[in-house]
Structures are given as C-alpha cells and as structure tokens.
C-alpha cells in the first residue's frame, strides 16, 4: 500500500513544555490508523499541528505525494484533510443540513455577484450543494434531522453531523478526534459501523481514541504517544503486548 501521509520529525513546544518531540509516522492509503496515549501525551496537539491550527516548531509533512503547506487551516482542508474536534464544534444555530452545506464551501465557487444575480450556474451549484449535503446526512444516518438546529441534536447525532460536515469537504484523510468520547455502548457500536463503512468506501481515517476496545477492534495500525514521543507503532495485537506501552499506561 502507498503512503498517504508522512510526518517527519514533528516537534511542538509551548514555552518550556515539549508537547511533541520528533514524532514521525506514516499513514497508508485506505487504512484506519489509531493514535493513542495517556492524557496529555500530545495526540490532539498532533492533530492541531497537522490541520494548521497551530504551527509546528519543526518538522514537515508530505501528503498524497506532495509536501503539505500548513500555513493556514483552509489550505490543509484544500489539500484533502478534514477533521472533527474532541469537544464537538458545530455551527450550533444552523440546521444540520446547513452545517453540511457549509462544508461544501471549499469545493464550490459562487461569489457575491453570482449570489446576487442568481445566475444559472449559481443555481445549479446551490442545488448540487444541497443534494450532496442530503446524501451525506443519509450516509451518516441523520437525514431525518436535516432541518433541526445542530444544537438540538442528540450528542451522538452531533458527532455524526460533524463527520458529515467533514466529509463534505471531499477529504482523502479524515482525522477524528475522540469520536466515541461520551458515547454509550450502543452509540459506540454504531459509530464503529460508520467508520468501517468509511474505510470500505476507500477513505483513509486517522483516529484519536481513549476507548481501547474500539481502537483495538477497529484500527489496522496503532501508534502510541507518551510525553510527546512516539513509543510504539504496529498492528494492535503487537502494540498491546509492547512493554513500553504497558508501562506508559499502567505506570508499572
């Protein structure tokens, strides 16, 4: 399998704190890649650096065969990396449908003049946006809530909506930051089906997760971060037996 994302020696310091230290990892096309580690290990920082929300102190990324320009979040999204947030960040006072429609912003072009004149091209594009958004709501299974405000959705549905919005940007890599956090067992099981479906549809998924059972069952490969350093990277069975990993988690 070919490499989709390659991170080379990524470091990030916040003042004296070494949040990430020389982290290198590669994600292969079409796999589900888990990023785990104890609290404060630097998982979310890695996501934030990757998606351009905070710049790396050093290190480079290459994505889909080209070097990744991470100056601004929108260029990362443009390149094909979409993310969700650990604490759900939806557009709370917009409907579910509108949330997903905003996600199409990146792949559409209508400007002020098109909007004001409502030209044939703009109308066609609007229809396409809405149609795609409805499809995506169906895909994640919340089409019946399309016209509800995002803040009125249940917690599990909000997670799904955030995934639908990320999918609307036509990503090659979907980065999910603790998608199962706060979910009950039923919701987690449904989420697992959804993520497996994403993989079988050819999407590459990167996953931060605390739910060990979910990670081990779902991921093709897992990397473990501890104090900002990568201490293991392998298939789940081997990672589970790794002595460094056991030490990091149990402090033994």
């Amino acid at each position: 399998m070919s490499h989709l994302l390659e991170a080379r020696s990524i470091s990030k310091r916040f003042g004296g704190v070494r949040a990430l230290h020389e982290v290198s990892l590669t994600i292969r096309q079409g796999e589900i890649y888990g990023l785990i580690g104890p609290n404060g290990a630097g998982k979310t920082t890695f996501f934030n650096v990757l998606t351009g929300l905070c710049p790396a102190s050093s290190g480079t990324f290459s994505f889909a065969g080209a070097s990744l320009n991470i100056n601004a979040p929108h260029t990362v999204a443009q390149a094909g990396i979409a993310r969700t947030f650990q604490n759900i960040r939806l557009f709370a006072n917009m409907t579910a449908l509108e949330n997903v429609m905003v996600g199409r912003h990146l792949r559409t072009h209508a400007g002020v003049i098109g909007a004001v004149l409502r030209s044939a091209a703009t109308r066609a594009e609007e229809n396409a946006i809405q149609q795609r958004a409805v499809e995506l709501l169906h895909y994640v299974g919340i089409a019946d809530r399309a016209n509800d405000l995002a803040r009125n959705l249940s917690y599990g549905d909000q997670r799904r909506l955030e995934i639908a919005r990320a999918l609307a940007t036509d990503p090659k890599l979907l980065a999910l930051d603790e998608p199962a956090a706060g979910m009950n067992a039923t919701e987690t099981a449904a989420l697992r089906v959804l993520i497996e479906g994403l993989r079988s549809d050819g999407l590459t998924v990167m996953l931060i997760e605390h739910d060990v059972k979910l990670v081990m069952g779902l991921c093709d490969r897992v990397a473990v971060l501890d104090y900002g350093e990568k201490i293991a990277e392998d298939v789940p069975e081997n990672v589970q037996r790794d002595s460094k990993v056991i030490e990091a988690y149990l402090g033994a």
Binding site: A72, A77, A82, V102, T108, G111, A115, R118, A143, A146
Partner: protein, 352 residues
C-alpha cells in the same frame, strides 16, 4: 391557500407603500422627509446587519462608511470643486470607496473579536469624522466643520428632485420623488441581502459567526470572507450616504457622530440580528417613534399644563432607554429573531 394569502398581503403592502407619500403629504411634507430618512436608516441597518448580524463582527464605527458615501457625493456634485456629476455615476463610486474603507478597517482587525473589535471600530469611526473636520487645510478638501453646501439634488433627465413637478395632474414635491427613488433602491438592497444570506457566501458568514475555528478547519478562508463582509456592509453605508447628501443638500461632520453608529446598531439589535425583516422593522420603528413623540409630546403638554414641563428630547431618550431595558428583559434576541423564521429548505428535499 397559504401562498394566496401571502400574495394578497404583499399586494396590500406594495399598494400602501406606493400611495404612502400622498397620504403623508396631507399631514405635511415634513413627514415625507422623515420617511425618506427612515428608509436611509433601513439601508444603513441592513448594511450593518451583514457585518454584525451575519458575520458576527461587532462594528461601532459604521457611520464612517455613511460619511464616506456622503462626502463622495458632496464633493463630486457641488460648487465646492465645481464638479457636477450625475448621481448614477457617483453612487457606485461612493459605494466602492466605502467598500475600500471597509477593507481598510477590516484588515488590521481580523484577529479581534467582541469587545476589542468594538473598541477599534469605534476609534475608526471617530478617525474618519475627525479627518472630515480637519481636511480643510492645507488643501481645502472637506471644508472642515462648516461642511459642504449647495449639493446638487438628484437629476433624472429633465426632472430635478429638488423642486415640485406635475405628472398627469398630480403635484409631486421633491421629497416625494426621492421617496420613490429610495423605495426602488430599498427593494434592490433587500433583494441583494436576501440572496446573499441564502448563498454560499452567506453560509460562510454564518459559520464564522457560529464558530470561527471550525469554519477555518473545514476550509473557509476566514480572512477573505470577513473582509468581504466588511466591504459589502460598508458599500450599503456608502450608498445611503450618497442619497443623504443629495436629499439634504448640506452635510457637515456633525451628521456622522458616534451616536449615529450606536443608533444604527440599536436598530439592528432591536429588530433581531441577522434577520433581514427584523432589521427592517427595527430601523422603521426607531426612526418613526422619536418623530411621533416630537409631534405629540409638546402639544399634549401644552394642552394639559399650558407649558412644556418635560423637554421632548428628554422623553425621547427616556423611552429609548426604557425600550432597550424591556427588550433585553423580554426579547433578548430582538423583536423578530433570526430562527423564528420558517426554514427555506423544504423538508421534502431532506426526506426524499
């Protein structure tokens, strides 16, 4: 059924708007002028609504764009420079220049939100006004605090909006002609607003208002979209300013003080930030009620006490404050808030 009722209502509204100036001029031409100013305030509120209501960027210096538009018109159509360009050339120039000023204000404030943004925009409004006050030396551009006089009225062909005319036996005063011109412009402005709101750009504005970080993460170039909001909002202010110049025939920096910005913001907030019809209602209400008071408070007191006990200006401010307090208590989202409206996206599309 529903659409029939809607259509009937719309027809009544349009007809009453069309005959309004005739009814008003029976009560005095002053009322037509007041209506014209109210329409200008609707323009301004709708412009500010793009920045504050759609994109969620608090702007306390909005009157600066009004001033830019007004001065552009005044300088290009008055004896001050001896230029007398027609209004349909000046209005786009005014709108364009105001938009440029919008970008000028937006660029340094991209990273600011809330209170901090409010302070900077407030400063910007003051800077523009003070410039207008002082740009009489060394070269006399704005004529300083004395303002610019004898500004040309709007002319369309042989019809001048500055004087009375007779059409088909009906006498049309200047303000009445302006009323119809403003009504036409208003229709245009509302249409532009409605279409922008329901567009890719409008959704991006809303997204930035709701959660800027999430908006960036899904690929919205927030820099560009925010500047676009500032520029679009400012251009409406520029158009309103140009019309203000033409109608008044005289402008001075005194017309563009901070309280005007605050008043426009109050209209937006009172009506319901982000909801176009709410903002229109807010602007109309806050334009007319003070005038109604002006014409009722004095005669009422004269009748009751034979003298003026409380100055009408005091009552106006008192009621204004009271209205804001009551509103914040009972309708904090405005009289007609954004999401009370029916969603334009039909449910069938989603459940098909």
């Amino acid at each position: 059924m529903q659409t029939n009722k809607y259509r009937a209502g719309l027809t009544v509204l349009i007809l009453s708007l069309l005959i309004l100036p005739f009814a008003l001029s029976a009560a005095g031409t002053a009322w037509v002028r007041i209506t014209n100013l109210a329409i200008l305030f609707v323009f301004l509120s709708l412009g500010l609504n793009i920045v504050v209501g759609f994109a969620g960027l608090l702007d306390l210096g909005y009157v600066a764009f009004y001033a830019v538009g007004a001065y552009v018109y005044a300088l290009l159509a008055s004896p001050h420079f001896g230029l007398h360009l027609p209004f349909w050339i000046i209005l786009p120039i005014g709108a364009g220049l105001a938009a440029l000023f919008g970008v000028l204000l937006g660029t340094p404030t991209l990273k600011l939100r809330g209170d901090y943004l409010a302070i900077v925009t407030l400063g910007f409004g003051e800077i523009v006004r003070i410039f207008m006050n002082n740009l009489s030396q060394p070269i006399n551009i704005t004529n300083g605090p004395r303002g610019i006089t004898l500004i040309d009225p709007v002319r369309l062909g042989s019809i001048s909006f500055g004087q009375n005319d007779q059409f088909f036996g009906l006498v049309m005063s200047g303000p009445m002609k302006y009323y119809y011109l403003l009504l036409l412009l208003l229709l245009l402005v509302i249409m532009v607003n409605l279409r922008l709101q329901n567009s890719r750009i409008g959704r991006a504005w809303e997204a930035i208002r709701e959660d800027e970080m999430a908006a960036r993460a899904i690929g919205i170039n927030t820099t560009r979209i925010k500047l676009l909001a500032f520029a679009m909002g400012a251009s409406f202010g520029g158009v309103a300013g140009g019309m203000f110049s033409a109608i008044q025939g005289f402008i001075s920096p005194e017309s563009f003080v901070l309280t005007e910005s605050v008043m426009i913001l109050s209209m937006v907030v009172l009506g319901g930030m982000g909801n176009i019809w709410g903002v229109v209602a807010g602007a109309v209400l806050l334009s007319f009620v003070p005038e109604l008071l002006r014409y009722t408070v004095v005669p009422l007191q004269m009748n009751l006490f034979n003298r003026i006990v409380i100055d009408p200006e005091v009552i106006r401010l008192l009621l204004f404050g009271l209205a804001l307090v009551l509103m914040m208590r009972f309708r904090p989202a405005g009289l007609w808030p954004l999401h009370a409206r029916q969603r334009e996206f039909d449910r069938q599309a989603a459940t098909q």
